[in-house]
């Protein structure tokens, strides 16, 4: 479903991703682990076209999306929940979700999106900026889901969120995958969340994938060694 080959990216002279290869089949949840500065966010931004990749190809469901503008990538099935959530804070919750509809041409938000996040229904007419961190995170996921994606990218979704909501989020992401057949790529620093949510755990170190194993039978001690400073 998501096919990345030799992805190379960076800022100016500094190279952050060095020829990264990754294939994610349909319906798989992949967690990409790594310490700060190892390239997780750059990978996400390069996939979305926010940072332009200098080399390599990205394909979603067989369609190459490299070189496209962000909105065209969304139209081809990528959806993005950025680090820090970045919801539109002066717009209401409902309007925030509706911004995701742009590429689908729909006028109303499908009911099953609000089913996933019942807390948003009560807050429909509140401004996004006045929600708590956990609610904003759910809003950001709902907004991404509104564009009817094939691949959902989440960049450190657990940052600054209380443990009970983190566990709920893991359940929700698995439910989204089961109900919509979505492919999910989530970057993470918290190993417990990654083990909770993912089918497959990767480790990103200095812009390359250095570890790749399925959830079942994972060597936790080995992975956490990569994460300790």
């Amino acid at each position: 479903m998501l096919n990345i080959q030799n992805l190379t990216s960076g800022y100016g002279e500094s190279r952050v991703l060095n020829g990264l290869d990754l294939t994610v089949p349909k319906g798989q949840i992949v967690a990409i682990m790594g310490r700060n500065g190892m390239g997780k966010t750059t990978l996400m931004k390069s996939l979305m076209g926010i940072v332009q990749a200098t080399d390599g190809t990205v394909a979603v469901d067989g369609t190459p999306v490299g070189g496209m503008k962000s909105h065209a990538r969304v139209a081809n099935g990528l959806a993005y929940v950025p680090q820090g959530r970045q919801i539109f804070s002066a717009m209401t919750v409902e309007e925030n979700v509706e911004t995701g509809l742009t590429v689908t041409g729909r006028k109303t938000v499908p009911a099953n999106i609000y089913d996933l996040f019942p807390v948003l229904v009560d807050m429909k007419h509140r401004r996004g900026g006045n929600l708590s961190g956990g609610q904003q995170q759910q809003l950001a996921i709902a907004r991404a889901m509104a564009s009817d994606p094939k691949v959902l990218l989440l960049d450190e979704p657990t940052e600054g969120i209380q443990p009970s909501i983190i566990r709920e989020m893991a359940r929700t992401l698995r439910r989204i995958r089961d109900e919509h057949g979505l492919t999910i790529v989530v970057s993470e620093q918290v190993l417990s969340f990654a083990l909770d949510v993912a089918d497959r755990v990767l480790v990103l170190e200095k812009g390359a994938l250095v570890h790749d194993s399925p959830r079942a039978g994972i060597d936790e001690a080995h992975v956490s060694k990569f994460l300790s400073v």
Binding site: S70, V74, Y80, F88, E95, V103, R127
Partner: protein, 308 residues
């Protein structure tokens, strides 16, 4: 300053100056609406906004000339055709300017000030070369002439009422577009976070161009209305640009309602003070009060409360 007037006279003066203020208010609102879209939403300081207005005024002048020559029977209706053409002309020029200049400067907001100031000089000279340095005026259709006598002392001009109705109509239309339509939602998303708007699937470049075009188009309509109350020259726009920025900043940059409220208070204060004091003293007092209020409330009259 009130001595020498009897009480009913004072009442009539306040009413008529108040009404003159309402006409000024209408032009302010039409000018400021375009600017509120461009400056308030996009953060672009468009110094050429006055020239976009004057373009609309010249288009109105050309249309009125064409009607007088080719279709004198329909002369009474020329204004409506002129309004649409003024919107299109200013809007198209606006979209071209966005494509050629503004889109390269979104990350450097202060440079838009210089670039658009240069653009305003270019436009002024183009007007001078095309239409001559002398001011031109349109013939107001006969149904818009005259005034309605309300009492013995109070009379209100019909063209003034027309301009006011127009301003209210356009304000309502802009409000509906910004807050009830899909396009408005996209505009607000792009202005709040351009990168993220792209990443949820909004074509930010197209939205920016359309927004700038509509903001300039509304200025064109303001120009059409302007011909009803004043004559048009190459530099007439200059006289309004400062006042208009004042209105937008005073009202609170992102708030349409604030823009309208501040246009109302500034134009009323100006108009009533002008009658009793000289024009420049009226301006001094309005500016001082506005500066004073902005020192207490830097965010303007109306602003959205959000947690930071």
């Amino acid at each position: 300053m009130f001595s020498g007037y009897s009480l009913p006279e004072l009442g009539a003066i306040f009413a008529m100056q108040g009404f003159a203020g309402l006409i000024l208010f209408s032009v302010f609102v039409l000018m400021a609406l375009g600017l509120a879209i461009i400056f308030g939403q996009m953060g672009v300081i468009n110094m050429a906004h006055g020239e976009f207005m004057i373009l609309g005024a010249y288009v109105t002048y050309l249309v009125s000339q064409a009607f007088a020559t080719y279709a004198p029977a329909l002369f009474g209706a020329y204004f409506f055709v002129a309004m649409v053409l003024a919107f299109c002309a200013s809007g198209l020029l606006g979209m071209f300017v966005e494509w050629a200049i503004i889109r390269h400067l979104y990350k450097r907001p202060l440079d838009t000030l210089l670039a658009t100031w240069g653009l305003s000089l270019i436009l002024q000279q183009s007007f001078r070369s095309l239409f001559g340095a002398r001011e031109v005026g349109v013939t107001i259709p006969s149904w818009m002439m005259g005034s309605l006598p309300l009492t013995d002392l109070i009379e209100v001009p019909i063209n003034g009422i027309f301009v006011m109705v127009l301003a209210l109509g356009i304000s309502a239309a802009v409000y509906v577009m910004m807050f009830k339509s899909g396009w408005g939602r996209q505009v607000r998303a792009v202005t709040q976070n351009r990168t993220m708007a792209g990443a949820v699937g909004i074509d930010t470049e197209r939205t920016d161009r359309l927004t700038f075009g509509i903001g300039c188009g509304v200025a064109g309509i303001a120009g059409a209305a302007f011909t009803m109350i004043g004559s048009t020259g190459p530099t007439s726009g200059q006289a309004y640009i400062v006042d208009t920025f004042l209105v937008v900043v005073f009202g609170g940059a992102a708030s349409l309602l604030g823009t309208i409220a501040s246009a109302f208070s500034i134009s009323q204060a100006q108009s009533i003070l002008e009658f009793f004091l000289s024009g420049s003293m009226a301006k001094v007092i309005t500016l001082l009060v506005v500066v004073g209020i902005l020192m207490l409330r830097p965010q303007g009259l109306f602003s959205i409360k959000l947690r930071k």
